[in-house]
Symmetry: C2
Subunit: 196 residues, 2 copies
Amino acid sequence: MSPPLSDAGLDLLWRRARTHRAWMDRPVDDALLRRVYDLAKLGPTSANMCPLRIVFVKSPEAKDLLRPCLNEGSRDLSAPVTAVLGMEVHFYEDLPKLLPHTDARSWFADLPAERLEYIALRNASLQAAYFMLAARSLGLDCGPRSRFDPRRVNETFFAGTTVKSNFLCNLGYGDPRALRYWRDPRLDFDEVCSIR
Amino acid sequence: MSPPLSDAGLDLLWRRARTHRAWMDRPVDDALLRRVYDLAKLGPTSANMCPLRIVFVKSPEAKDLLRPCLNEGSRDLSAPVTAVLGMEVHFYEDLPKLLPHTDARSWFADLPAERLEYIALRNASLQAAYFMLAARSLGLDCGPRSRFDPRRVNETFFAGTTVKSNFLCNLGYGDPRALRYWRDPRLDFDEVCSIR
């Protein structure tokens, strides 16, 4: 029975948080990226699996590798960091470590490839959401983005592995002057929820 | 450049939050479920889509419908509420409302069924994570669960629709005395992240 988040906290994570596309000239330290991950990793997943993989694209050289993977008209890489959020489709190889009291590896290891990717996608997406909210928790702004060529991102950043890209997320300190004043609508409670 | 979450907030959402399996005898008001959704809906998704669908199972009658969908040995429904988290595979039908300034419906409407489900799964899982963290933000505890028959849940709660189940999540006020004192390990930053 914990007291709820303060109004400032609710604003930071939810009510005043926005997807940013323009960034202040303020760097993001590597130590802060570590702190973001160290919060995000605590969020719950199925069987305690940890399929999320992250490449933080920060240097000019890494941005030059990422740029041609982005769709035309969506090649801006002015954010201090762009996180390439991927998923380890062979996530079960880590389960002896993550859920040591049972043979959880055997629950998944023989599933067909499409089924494994489905489970990886579910749990890596949960973890990607934790990652974005952990970033906001530490005062960073996020700008998730989907307009890229997943095959090319896989070849560029995950070649020779069983990791596949999920989506990208810019990180930094958003410039509030560049936000539109309105927020796109969402579906209301009564449109998508029922209480039975 | 917002100040980060307070220590109490970081504890509430991340550091002291745990998956609960035993519950205090304290009800969860419908108004609180609405407040949880009204925060969760604000989280970012691709093209502002809102594929998340929720049935809150609260009454004894609804629990009697859910119980036979659960795996043997995982049929405990003592939590005040169990949320059935689903995904609308035809999410694109809502896009004219959610992204009104462009024809986003046409980006998705002709995709094959498996591709639509893949996109719905990614975004409904992001929204499911927002939902759990929104619940924690308002002082609730969560207990996500995967041990159920998805086909039977679909037939019971989503018959005649294009919604599919994703996973379940108990909600209430967890009994801290029932928690194990340890936390299962997670993968460390250097195991899953790189900075380039």
